[in-house]
């Protein structure tokens, strides 16, 4: 099968189609995902292809969506639920943490919840209030869960396949502002990507830049800018946030001695802190300089006019990188 040039949202759609065709137990559910094809069009065409039994428009009730996915998953189905924006996932939290993540443990393996909850995550598209939040850490804290945040179309495709096939619950957070930002060749080969390994997005030797989701785009741009200055940045995509593959990051930092972590969510309690804490524990001796975090501020996500004040950009990334090199000059 030839690779098609796809935007990220199209790769999501392709993965859903592909896996629904391959496995009749896969069902999708959520608000406006049927006839309407999803508010971002992730589920376009599924209703016509797979019918209303497997493409389930739910009432406007996010707790129900999560709970229904739990119920479906206990019966051998593989539900892939969509929440319209990650800011509306909070009503799912109780169901996920108090049920989905622990049914296997509670029943000593008798029942389990192989289910996926997908949602667009993050800001940058001038959307209305509550449509631009970053929820990864809310979920990544929860034991028994996997959290995935792809950064490009090919990874979105392969990781979504992996998430659907995984025997445990997975939260799948898609980078809203990258949905149509760029295209990439994606082959519909049905190949899943591993769910527990960071991607080395680009190799480098002077500093390790770590990010995930939409911020990977700006991180790549920052690496480009650094390259022009003769600084070689290794870029790590932590697309599988939970469980966290620190080995790849530690190996990289052992090589570069410097690390900056980039996230969009507020600073305090973000996943960047988890990574930095692991570096403070295991990487201290390889570090030439403090580990710096570039993040959203500890504020409410501003409405559209000020969202760019909040969201980190290349300039802010480069500023922190410079601080690192000021503390530990190259060479």
């Amino acid at each position: 099968m030839a690779a098609q040039n796809l935007a990220l949202i199209e790769a999501i759609n392709l993965a859903l189609k592909s896996e629904m065709a391959r496995d009749e137990n896969v069902v999708v559910l959520g608000e406006d995902i049927g006839r309407n094809g999803g508010v971002f069009r992730a589920t376009v065409g599924l209703l016509d292809t797979f019918g209303g039994d497997r493409v389930i428009d739910t009432p406007l009730a996010e707790t129900l969506v999560a709970a229904m996915a739990i119920g479906l998953s206990t019966q051998g189905l593989k539900p892939v639920a969509e929440i319209q924006f990650s800011g509306f996932m909070y009503p799912c939290v109780d169901q996920v943490v108090n049920h989905a993540t622990r049914l296997r443990n509670r029943t000593r393996g008798r029942l389990s919840c192989p289910m996926v909850i997908r949602a667009p995550n993050g800001g940058g598209i001038h959307a209305p209030e509550h449509h631009s939040e970053s929820l990864e850490t809310t979920f990544a804290q929860m034991a028994g869960l996997r959290v995935v945040a792809p950064s490009n179309p090919a990874r979105a495709y392969g990781l979504l396949l992996a998430a659907i096939r995984d025997p445990d619950p997975v939260i799948f957070l898609e980078p809203t502002r990258c949905y149509r930002l760029f295209k990439q060749p994606v082959e519909d080969d049905g190949e899943a990507l591993p769910l527990d390994t960071c991607f080395i997005d680009r190799e480098g030797s002077d500093i390790t830049l770590v990010s995930w989701g939409a911020m990977m785009h700006d991180t790549r741009l920052a690496a480009d800018a650094l390259a022009e200055e003769g600084i070689s940045a290794e870029v790590v995509d932590v697309a599988t946030l939970k469980p966290l593959d620190m080995d790849t990051i530690l190996t990289s930092v052992a090589k570069t001695g410097r690390c900056v972590i980039v996230q969009e969510s507020p600073r305090a309690g973000g996943w960047a802190s988890e990574i930095a804490a692991n570096l403070a524990e295991h990487g201290l001796l390889s570090l030439f300089a403090p580990v710096l975090r570039v993040s959203g501020y500890d504020t409410i996500m501003p409405l559209a006019r000020q969202e760019r004040v909040y969201i980190p950009d290349t300039e802010r990334i480069l500023k922190e990188v410079r601080k690192v090199f000021d503390a530990a000059p190259k060479g």
């Binding site: 006839r35 009432p59 406007l60 707790t63 959307a127 504020t299 559209a304 969202e307």
Partner: protein
């Protein structure tokens, strides 16, 4: 239910009533409510309806020309907002959904603020004049605002204030647990709350008959032992009448109730939506026949309360008012970037000062405005 079985007896029964004064063609049925004797009020209600429609049109136009963010039009639902605006007293509290702009205007929200809000500016929620100063900003997370009414109503009751809270939401919101937690408990304390549900038949692409197994929204009131009733939400006379009755009952200490205003969303869900994907042109066309403006205007004219000259003057004024609001909105200065810290806490904790300083030092950002 095998209700005839000798071991079975009936223990409770419930009824739902529907009220409509003005038929689709603007004919009056039954004795009109007392307020309908006050011609000035009748005219004011119509004026608010038309100004709201003009505003709505302008807002959509601003969005289509890239001057406004996503906007949720109220086309076809104006009568409900007008009825709320006229039924509430100044010191009541309104906790709105997002399509009752007419009510917000009546309570003093400047049109500019609504534009600011959908334009992506927090200042659009700082209603600073009239009764709206007491009101909540609209709630985007659907239905989550509904149980907050319980706290507001409880405060009124605790202080023995003769005030009422009206909380509104859409038919989609009635699927949310938040809605039911409020409905189920309001009567426990016999709180002065009116739950208003604008059932416009759709929640984005989901029609009401796929939203719930219930035949009406009104019957959901029974989950809380409250009265529930339906009203023709495109009949401004009926809607105001039913709401006023519910509000005054609540004010007299007779407890909460639920009103389902049956209406139709004539516009796309928001400017980001294309309703043709999920509903037929015929359905929408048929709904235009039930338009609240058309019907009310016909009745006002037939009753001699409204003339062609009145209409012309109003249309001109309404368009100008909306235009002026748009200009005011477009000219407003950007907030300072560091204003994102201004109202985070009553006083910014000192551990966050460096973040504000960083933003302030950076100055204006491309793309922020």
């Amino acid at each position: 239910m095998d209700s005839n079985h000798s071991a079975t007896r009936r223990v409770a029964s419930f009824e739902i009533f529907y009220t409509q004064f003005l038929s689709q063609d603007g004919e009056a049925r039954g004795d009109l409510p007392a307020f309908a004797k006050d011609v000035e009020q009748l005219r004011a209600m119509y004026q608010l309806m038309i100004r709201t429609r003009a505003f709505d049109k302008k807002a959509v136009a601003l969005q289509r020309t890239g001057q406004l963010g996503t906007y949720a039009a109220c086309l076809g639902q104006e009568a409900i907002g007008v009825a709320i605006g006229h039924a509430l007293k100044a010191d009541d509290v309104f906790i709105p959904a997002y399509r009752e702009y007419a009510a917000q205007f009546a309570r003093g929200v400047p049109m500019r603020d609504i534009l600011l809000y959908w334009g992506g500016d927090e200042r659009g929620m700082n209603y600073d004049s009239g009764p709206s100063m007491l009101d909540f900003p609209l709630s985007v997370p659907i239905g989550t605002h509904v149980p907050q009414s319980i706290g507001v109503g409880y405060a009124f009751k605790l202080r023995k204030e003769p005030r009422v809270v009206l909380v509104s939401c859409g038919d989609g919101a009635t699927s949310k647990g938040d809605f039911y937690e409020a409905v189920s408990s309001a009567k426990v304390w016999n709180l002065p709350i009116v739950f208003l549900v604008s059932n416009n038949g759709w929640a984005i692409s989901l029609p009401f008959n796929r939203q719930t197994g219930a035949e009406t929204v009104a019957q959901k009131a029974f989950a809380g032992g409250m009265p529930g009733e339906q009203v023709d939400g495109n009949d401004v006379i009926a809607t105001r009448f039913v709401l006023e009755r519910a509000i005054e009952r609540a004010r007299r200490g007779e407890g909460p109730s639920l009103v389902e205003a049956v209406t139709y969303r004539l516009h796309d869900h928001t400017t980001a939506d294309d309703a043709r994907r999920y509903r037929s042109a015929e359905e929408v066309e048929a709904a235009w026949d039930r338009c609240p403006v058309k019907r009310y205007k016909a009745w006002l004219e037939n009753s001699g309360h409204w003339s062609a000259a009145d209409e012309e003057a109003l249309q001109t004024e309404a368009t100008a008012t909306a235009e002026a609001a748009a200009q005011e909105f477009l000219k407003i200065e950007a907030q300072a970037p560091e204003s994102i810290f201004d109202h985070l806490y009553a006083t910014l904790p000192k551990t966050l000062e460096w973040q504000r300083d960083e933003v302030a030092a950076r100055g204006p950002i491309a793309g922020a405005h």
